[in-house]
């Protein structure tokens, strides 16, 4: 039971991290109708920038400055790149962001090299917050949790309770009308793209010390973020939230319990082969849940697309 609780906490922390990435992605999609394939690259960029800043000034300055830099860069990409491509339709936009992913990923490796960099959590958070079931939760993980929750609340507040949020929500569905009312819709687009990528950057900043800052980090997390967004429903912030937590827990629990195909087969009355290493069905008999854990989100993705094509909370036809 204790292990269960500790897994719930770990899964929650991981899920909220995913949410920070998927929230930006889904915001950008609902606003501009474009799936930003370079999203994970901004996540990576955030981590590396924060690392570089932390070398000179320590972790906390990096925590503030790096996401701001990524936000500015994201806004610039929208203003000078995407906006020009926009007139040619969605496919060129998609290809633009696809190419951007590789450009950023290669640039990062060009600047910071191909081995992992030494980006660590601040010393002031290098203690154990509390112990549970022989395992400990480091203070940094609690910090990650608080930042993620804070971001979620702030996003919700801005979108639901402020004038800016009202304009963004209106521009989502009726951009022409909003423009006719005298609002600068392209500026709103730029802002949303900037903030969206900035959130990815922030996710990178706080995930970098925990999940390691290395060249493969964008690729590793990139695909799973799309799963979160699609499962939650493209364009739905709440959907992205639920899907991120769901996938966070799914992956954590799948890796935690060594339930094997053998247990299931035995339960169905099959006999465990004597010399399993030479058995023709060896791969099936030795298969365990942690081994298939990483593909579970993709199975979920397929199931959702088949039975609920709009995602769990999506309204938009895609």
């Amino acid at each position: 039971m204790d292990l269960f609780i500790i897994n719930v906490i770990d899964g929650l922390i991981y899920g909220l991290l995913l949410f920070m990435l998927s929230s930006g992605l889904t915001l950008i999609f609902s606003m501009m109708g474009v799936l930003n394939l370079s999203h994970a690259a901004f996540y990576m960029l955030g981590a590396y920038l924060a690392y570089q800043i932390s070398v000179y000034t320590g972790f906390w300055v990096g925590l503030i400055v790096a996401p701001l830099l990524v936000t500015i860069l994201g806004a610039a990409v929208e203003r000078y790149g995407l906006r020009r491509v926009h007139q040619y339709g969605h496919v060129p936009e998609l290809i633009f962001t696809f190419g951007l992913f590789f450009v950023i990923e290669e640039l990062v490796q060009y600047i910071w090299g191909r081995s992992m960099v030494n980006y660590n959590s601040p010393e002031s958070l290098d203690f154990i917050a509390f112990n549970l079931a022989g395992g400990s939760i480091p203070a940094y993980k609690v910090f990650m949790l608080l930042v993620s929750v804070g971001i979620f609340l702030a996003l919700y507040y801005v979108l639901a309770r402020t004038r800016v949020g009202m304009i963004i929500q209106a521009a989502l569905s009726y951009p022409k009308t909003v423009e006719a009312l005298g609002h600068n819709v392209p500026l709103v687009f730029m802002g949303v793209f900037g903030v969206g990528t900035g959130l990815a950057g922030l996710a990178g900043v706080i995930a970098g010390p925990s999940l390691t800052t290395f060249p493969g980090m964008a690729f590793l997390l990139g695909s799973i973020v799309f799963v979160c967004v699609v499962v939650g429903g493209l364009g739905s912030l709440f959907g992205a939230f639920v899907a991120s937590l769901l996938i966070g827990w799914l992956q954590t629990f799948a890796a935690s319990y060594n339930i094997g195909a053998a247990d299931i087969l035995i339960a169905f009355g099959y006999e465990y082969p004597k010399d399993v290493y030479y058995h023709p069905w060896r791969d099936l008999w030795t298969l365990t849940l942690p081994q298939i854990g990483p593909i579970l989100p993709y199975i979920l993705l397929i199931l959702v697309l088949v039975f609920r094509p709009n995602g769990l909370f999506g309204k938009r036809e895609t």
Binding site: L3, I6, N7, D10, G11, Y14, G113, R114, S115, M116, V117, N118, N120, I128, N131, A133, G134, G135, S136, P138, Y140, K141, S210, L211, T212, F214, P215, G216, L220, L221, I224, Q251, T252, F253, A255, S256, Y257, N258, T288, P290, Q291, G293, P294
Partner: protein, 412 residues
């Protein structure tokens, strides 16, 4: 136009003349490993070690065959099996007779097959495969062949040494085995099971393989390992999988030792830093710490020329000097059969590392001292310019010298 043709042919002819006159007298070794892509760090460090060893230990000491220089030719295989075979062919077409490769046993398996076939079909252009790092035991057992020489201790030998150390640790009662889900990870787990059962009464409380390069967060694995009551962990993980596993273990409150194969250099030592202290125990050949004066000078020179490189694979200095010695003994740099026979069974004293190496005749596996060391900042030679490195605390002299092999070598 005629003038242009004349000039062109002159340039071409002189180019040929110069290239042949400049390079004809060097003995070339083709270095085929990843020099681009995600694994480029390891390949680049290895290349620097090869180049420096050839320069310092052979060329500056007068070369081979009374004055011929040796040269390392770098060919990028992008960590891809097919690309590697293309590069082997490129090397052969350039007249290179020595192939050095080490990263990935899968690629080594492919190269050894190709070399075997090539040498059978082209007795006048035979090549020798210098495997300096690939540790799949099969390469010197079922898949062994005359033209393949392994300079690293294979996975079984290393596990034999690790379990010697573990057997002496009275605090370890329960062991968790975790590795990446592919041939090497499986080989490590199998060897660990075998030797632990032979030498100790330690209970294996977990034996699992995780998808390679796909696990985003190792925390749940760490929780599971702690919940299993394990006192220690054995892993063959490398790269980010190694760092993430180690960090998650530490963060989750695991305080036992982690015995590993590849938990140093190429950014790993730097990233672990203080976290790895008292946790990481690595097995390997080549004793760097504590060091001797000759080694200090050598390491300084290497660092001056290649600041990002480390002496991560000291065996390369064995390989280079042993090849030079074999060429001298054979009296030729092109009679590959004679060179291979000279390498086979060679006993070599490496003054730099102050060790002896024997290239075992029966399977072409180098037998040498294998050490277990710990990650610490109390070192003379550090890795990744981080102040941290590996300090050896246990040595097995000529490890696994009499270990059995299934190799049935066919000699030409």
């Amino acid at each position: 136009m005629k003038l242009f043709k004349k000039i062109a042919s002159f340039v071409l002819a002189s180019g040929l003349f110069f290239s042949s006159s400049v390079f004809a007298d060097t003995v070339k070794i083709a270095f085929i490993d990843p020099l681009s892509g995600p694994f480029a760090t390891t390949g680049t460090i290895g290349l620097a070690e090869w180049k420096y060893a050839v320069e310092k230990l052979v060329n500056e000491k007068g070369g081979v065959l009374g004055g011929k220089k040796m040269e390392v030719v770098a060919l990028d295989n992008k960590m891809d099996g097919k690309e590697s075979l293309v590069q082997v062919q490129v090397a052969i077409d350039q007249g290179i007779r020595f192939i050095a490769q080490g990263n990935s046993s899968g690629i080594a398996n492919a190269i050894t097959d190709m070399v075997k076939k090539h040498n059978k079909r082209n007795p006048d252009k035979q090549v020798i495969f210098l495997n300096y790092s690939a540790v799949d035991p099969a390469l010197t057992n079922d898949k062994c062949q005359f033209w393949h020489f392994r300079f690293d201790a294979n996975a079984d030998i290393k596990m034999d040494v690790i379990t010697d150390v573990i057997a002496g640790e009275s605090g370890i009662k329960k062991m968790y085995l975790i590795g990446q889900d592919y041939s090497f990870g499986k080989a490590v787990a199998a060897a660990a099971e075998k030797y632990l059962a032979q030498k100790t009464s330690i209970e294996i409380v977990g034996n699992e393989l995780h998808p390679i390069g796909r696990v985003k967060d190792f925390t749940p694995y760490a929780r599971k390992i702690i919940a299993s009551g394990a006192n220690a962990v054995i892993t063959g993980n490398w790269g980010a999988d190694m760092v993430n596993l180690g960090r998650s273990l530490k963060e989750s409150g695991f305080d036992g030792p982690v015995y590993c194969y590849y938990c140093a250099t190429a950014g790993i030592t730097r990233t672990f830093g203080e976290t790895g202290k008292g946790m990481l125990n690595i097995v390997g050949e080549g004793k760097l710490n504590p060091m001797n004066p000759a080694l200090e000078a050598y390491n300084k020179g290497l660092k001056a020329k290649y600041p990002e490189a480390d002496m991560s694979q000291p065996r390369i200095t064995n390989a280079v000097q042993m090849v030079a010695k074999a060429i001298n003994e054979a009296g030729s740099a092109t009679d590959m059969k004679a060179i291979a026979y000279a390498l086979e069974g060679m006993e070599f004293e490496n003054e730099l590392l102050q060790t002896k190496v024997v290239m075992r005749t029966s399977d072409h596996q180098a037998i040498q001292d294998v050490h277990v060391g710990m990650h610490t900042d109390d070192v003379d030679i550090d890795f990744d310019n981080s102040g941290y490195g590996i300090k050896m605390y246990k040595t097995v002299k000529m490890a696994s010298m009499d270990s059995p092999t299934t190799c049935k070598m066919k000699r030409p």
